[in-house]
């Protein structure tokens, strides 16, 4: 085989980076998005949630995380339209006198942050290990994949529960207020990385035999550069789908851990914590404490999943 000229190599390498954005904005996908009103509504809801979460400090009437502005004497006020309602609190207050509307916005913020960071952490671990395993092969591959196998043996929620328990045990004595968020992010990150690693490994093994990689190697580019600059952009497409689907799972995981009492503390409630607080009052008639956060969580996760489903179908030509 004659060795390619430097110009040819450059061309090959550039061609390898067939733009991810371009692929996303592929008119086909865009059309399928436009044609599905369910997807559009889902996207709108997710967008709304993100905006609400991002701008919570400006949108919310009160700051539920600041104890100095919460008055116990306002506790357990029902929504405005019910008898005993108070116009200051549209959908009522919780057992500490926090405005439910503000608490939900802030809770959304926490849930999305923990879920998002957790998924990003999972993706970075998974992508790194997947690239390494796929590109290096041999012993590195074997070790990484064995670890993945062992981990796949257990459901993610069980792993998250365990990691959370271990972490809380290690930070014993420290306030949950300071440890909860990093611990949850780590729990989620370490529970969800396998899927990314497997996907990336698979496509990397295919990509690494392609000409442009061989070419890049020939030019003498260092392995890390090849992996990051050339292989990665070509294998990262499916990750987007997993990312979206996992975001829903991560939010659920966070909520479940908080509900089981090993997540965020009641002083900094996420949606899961709010539901867990409200669950105590289910029988006593204070339905609004559990109903509104519950509905918010359900709608958010549903919308994220719908979006993920659509993205998967749209990127998978076999189903069209």
């Amino acid at each position: 085989m004659p060795s390619p000229t430097p110009e040819e190599v450059k061309g090959l390498v550039a061609g390898g980076q067939s733009g991810l954005i371009a692929r996303l904005l592929d008119s086909d996908i865009y059309a399928s998005f436009r044609s599905s009103w369910v997807t559009m509504i889902a996207a709108a809801i997710v967008l709304l949630c993100f905006i609400g979460a991002a701008f919570a400090p400006w949108i919310a009437p009160t700051d539920p995380f600041n104890p100095a502005t919460v008055f116990l004497s306002d506790a357990s006020i029902p929504p405005v339209w019910q008898q005993g309602g108070d116009p200051r609190f549209i959908i009522g207050t919780d057992d500490q006198g926090r405005d439910m509307y503000s608490a939900i916005l802030y809770g959304l913020r926490v849930s999305l942050m923990v879920g998002g960071l957790g998924v990003l952490l999972a993706a970075s671990i998974g992508i790194t290990l997947g690239l390494l395993a796929g590109y290096m092969g041999g012993r590195v591959d074997a070790i990484i994949m064995r670890v993945a196998d062992v981990q796949l043996t257990f459901p993610a929620i069980l792993i998250a529960l365990l990691i959370d328990g271990v972490a809380q045990g290690m930070f014993r004595g420290m306030s949950r207020e300071t440890t909860a968020i990093p611990v949850l992010v780590i729990s989620i990150g370490l529970s969800f990385w396998v899927q990314y690693a497997r996907t990336i490994r698979g496509s990397t093994m295919v990509e690494k035999n392609k000409d442009y990689v061989a070419a890049a190697r020939l030019v003498g580019l260092p392995t890390p550069i090849i992996m990051i600059r050339h292989v990665l952009p070509n294998v990262i497409g499916p990750v987007l789908v997993i990312l979206t689907i996992n975001l829903g799972l991560a939010i659920i995981t966070e909520a479940t851990l908080s509900f089981l009492g090993v997540g965020l503390p009641p002083t900094q409630p996420s949606l899961g914590t709010l539901i867990s607080i409200g669950n105590k009052y289910l029988f006593s008639g204070d339905w609004w404490i559990v109903a509104f956060p519950g509905a918010t969580l359900a709608i958010l996760v549903l919308a994220v999943n719908l979006l993920g489903d659509w993205l998967r179908d749209a990127l998978n030509p076999k189903l069209r």
Binding site: L158, L162, R172, V262, I275
Partner: protein, 325 residues
């Protein structure tokens, strides 16, 4: 072939040892079991004596060795909370979890298959759309929220079904207890089984739908149609039968996760099973129970995976080659 089987089994053992190591190391660092066991006015010397008597002062490696050795003999020690052998505690709670898991799996399989077949055959009917929507909700809502919702609806508002516990149970033999034989036992089973099975049900429904649609497109169904067989015979005699093999495999693989997910369901419904025992153990830093439970679940998954792998290995010669690499 024998080499393949042996390698698979050795791999499974290696996985189990790593699970044991992880279980042991992790739990060694969660909390201090001694503080759980002493009262307010226990003298410090007594505390130290306890640490020594529990072997908590030995080197970690020695403790792990002891742990493995005991695990091989089904000896997971004595629960710090109950002062009973962990094996006995798990065995006492196992019937509750197994009955719940079995009912949930049965529910998921039956309802899931029926809904899946319907959705595949009547793709565009409104009921199929409703089923699709239900399935989406089933995967989207967190288990605990579904449980709360069902409790609120059927226990608080309507008052039809109990919100917790197993109801009245009947004892069989030495340790098996069943809730299948009393009315209150059956009623108590309904809500938790639905909560636990809903996720698997949607999974099965989606799978059946996809598989069935795929099978319907195959030549052999076309031939059957061409031969003039009745639609019903084609759908249920040929198409469904071909669909069910992968479905049952998946359902089998999912049995392990049903038992693991029972932790949440059992907590919401105060179901006296192994999951509740595990969660309480986490809260009380009851290391022996946590370790044994993790090993048990690990063993369950590894065994199921091994069996499935072996079965496929025997069935599919292509995989036999692939697995060797």
């Amino acid at each position: 072939m024998l080499a393949f089987v042996i390698r698979r089994i050795l791999q499974s053992i290696a996985v189990m040892v790593s699970v044991a190591l992880i279980a042991f190391i992790m739990f060694r660092f969660v909390g201090d079991p001694v503080n759980q066991m002493v009262g307010v006015d226990t003298p410090q010397a007594e505390v130290e004596r306890l640490r020594a008597s529990l072997g908590l002062n030995d080197p970690t490696l020695v403790q792990f060795g002891r742990f493995l050795w005991n695990a091989l003999h089904f000896n997971f020690g004595v629960s710090y909370q109950f002062r009973l052998p962990v094996t006995q505690l798990l065995a006492e709670r196992a019937p509750a979890t197994l009955e719940l898991a079995f009912t949930a799996a049965l529910f998921a399989l039956l309802v899931g298959v029926v809904m899946g077949v319907y959705c595949a055959l009547r793709r565009d009917s409104w009921l199929a759309r409703v089923f699709q929507a239900v399935s989406l909700i089933g995967v989207s809502l967190p288990t605990f929220l579904i449980g709360i919702l069902l409790i609120y609806l059927f226990a608080v508002i309507l008052g039809w079904l109990p919100s917790n516990g197993r109801g009245e149970v009947v004892k069989f033999g030495n340790w098996w207890t069943t809730g299948f034989l009393t009315l209150s036992g059956l009623k108590a089973l309904v809500l938790p089984a639905i909560t636990l099975g809903l996720f698997q049900m949607t999974l099965i429904m989606r799978l059946v739908r996809a598989e069935m649609m795929e099978v319907m497109r195959t030549d052999y169904i076309k031939f059957a149609k061409a031969r003039g067989l009745r639609t019903r015979a084609i759908h249920f005699g040929h198409a469904l039968k071909n669909t069910l093999i992968p479905v049952i495999t998946i359902a089998g693989l999912q049995l392990g996760s049903i038992i693991a997910f029972a932790i949440i369901t059992e907590t919401v419904f105060n179901w006296p099973g192994m999951g509740l025992l595990f969660l309480k153990a986490v809260q009380n830093v009851d290391i022996p129970i946590m370790a044994a439970y993790l090993m048990l679940i690990g063993f369950l998954f590894v065994t199921i995976n091994l069996l499935v792998d072996l079965a496929y290995g025997f069935v599919d010669p292509r995989l036999r080659v692939a697995m060797r690499t």
